[in-house]
């Protein structure tokens, strides 16, 4: 009886040993993958930490910039209030009025509307009355 022909096992490719060897390599790869994963995770966490740190720093600088802008705006606000106060000075207004040819009236007329100037909800109506009186003036 002739045994069926079968290829000779190549060195290192022995049947049962082959499977064992594969199992061994699979475990090694899994370990390698795990370490790789851990490495990537650690690296990512490291970069994430750096990124968050940079983001925080950037935000802090932005905050400082905004605070600086706020201070500038506040200083500007007071400069403008000062300018407005100077513009309201009676001496300046009188000078400007004189330049415009305005003079103080020689005769004064007083129009009196009963109750006007007092407290109460009817003040607006009294102003309407006054406007009517003024409207009737020549």
């Amino acid at each position: 009886m002739t045994a069926p022909a079968r290829p000779m096992a190549a060195p290192g490719m022995v049947g049962a040993g082959f499977r064992v060897e594969i199992a061994h390599r699979s475990g090694h790869r899994a370990g390698w993958q795990a370490w790789t994963l851990i490495g990537i995770t650690v690296t990512a966490a490291f970069f994430l930490m750096i990124w968050s740190r940079i983001a925080l720093d950037q935000t802090a600088f932005q905050l400082q910039e905004i605070e600086s802008q706020t201070a500038s705006a506040e200083a500007r606000y007071w400069d403008l209030r000062l300018e407005a106060a100077r513009l309201q000075a009676p001496a300046r207004i009188i000078e400007a009025a004189a330049t415009m040819g305005m003079v103080y009236p020689e005769t004064l007329r007083t129009i009196e509307v009963a109750g006007l100037g007092g407290d109460g909800s009817e003040t607006e109506e009294r102003w309407v009355d006054l406007k009517a009186v003024l409207g009737a003036q020549p």
Partner: protein, 565 residues
Amino acid sequence: MGGSSLRRLNARLVTVGVLLVLAWGGIGYRLVVVQALEADVYADHGLDQRLQREILAADRGTIFDRDGRELAVTVDSVTFYANPSEIEDPTTVARLLAPLLHQNMLDVLDAISGEGTFAYVARQLERDDADRVIAARLPGIYYFTEPKRVYPMGELTGHVIGFVQADDNQGLEGLEYQYDDSLSGVPGELLVERDPHGRTIPQGEYQVVPAEPGSDLVLTIKTEIQFAAAEALQRAIDRTGAKGGSIVVVDPATGEILAMVNLPTFDPNDRSDADPAAFRNRAVTDVFEPGSTQKVITISAALEAGIADPDTIFEIPTTIERGETVFRDSTTHPSELTVTGIVAHSSNLGTITLGEMLGAKELHRNLYAFGLGQPSGVDFPGEASGLLRPSEEWCAVNCVASTSIGYGVSVTTLQMAMVYATVANDGVWVQPHLVKEIVDGKGTRVAVEPLQRRVIDAATALSMRLMLEEVVSGGTGGYAAVAGYRVGGKTGTTEKYLIDEQRYSEDDVVASFIGMGPIDEPRVVVAVVLDSPRQDDSGGKGAAPVFAEVALAALHQLGVPPDDR
């Protein structure tokens, strides 16, 4: 290679090896010391270099007039300084810098040529002026910002507001001094880590205790009336040649001072050329003998005591002699006068008659009750109390007579304004004040509540007002008439007492007029005092026209309708 040379080689190697070991050992030891044993110390050293503790200046409160107009504001200003050691060519820098600062080139050169590393070049410039200098980027010239107090109305309110010290914004005069604690606020503190460029290190140490801003003051002053008073006083000084003068305008019902003006004055924004004597608010700090304006107290005391009423007739002698003093009237009038006539004609002799009927004690009591001889308590520093000696110390011969007509006592313009305000306010004296409200940093408003006291009966006050009206309509105060309004008041002309020489001046007088309007329900009291007028040197001619101008402006500004409408 011989044995001896091998030994030498070995010895060298051993030596080098030992040295290396020692060196590394030293370095290692130092490393352990720095990094482990004394790590905290060095960490603290480093932190100290980065940590900066800064005082956060509190914003000084703003001062407003009664209508909310700014009278004193704090703004950021720019101060320039030089580091002379960094300036290689001071002449060129001074030549470029001087026109930008509007300064003399030699002054600038002097400032930047000195020894050392710091010299002020220009202090507290406003931003617009500073920007030109900053843009020039001159070598060795640096700047920093600091708060600056600015007074938009300048000399108009200089005496009332006062001013602060430029370095630290502490109040030195006026309301700035009086209310310094309220205006200053509480400084804060900032603890922060900074890099060598002065930038804040993010996420470094940062602790802040915020500053509490100072309170704002709302004054009783009405700027328009203040301006009208200042203009009228200046015109009066130009007209009469007076050395100076004061005007006080008061709301008699509330004690609020609507205007307080003195001339000569000064600009609190630039005091470099001002005479320090001009800093005094003379209406509050300087005294004078009131003369005839004080007769209102003597007469009202006589009415209160029931000695006379306005229509009681007195025979007026031609003179009254008390010891070596002979009293006369300076006006011509009938030989018989009612009490109203005595006031209208400002009769010294009639008033002395009534004063002597009252007696020293009663006269003194009334003078004191009207506020003479004591500070009014106005919220202003350096108020003079004036002079009113106790009646027990009065001389027996002529003190009652002279005191009755306003000699032998001294008063401030404000005190006399409040005497008339008492008459105007139906006999109730209200403490004068310049601050209406204090508004703290949180916006809480605290109104000032002035003291009040009744001095004379309301009926007496009304009688006095009608008598004062006679002074204007038919007496010595004709120039005080205000078109459209019924007003009243009293003239006063006193010889000026020269304190240094202990005698009365033969040339100088104090001319005054104090009055009120409208007479039925007075809304304003105006006191005008002129110091040593050369022309129109009497209360009737010098001061009364000023009253008319100021009273008219004040009544218009307060919206008081005329009596003749």
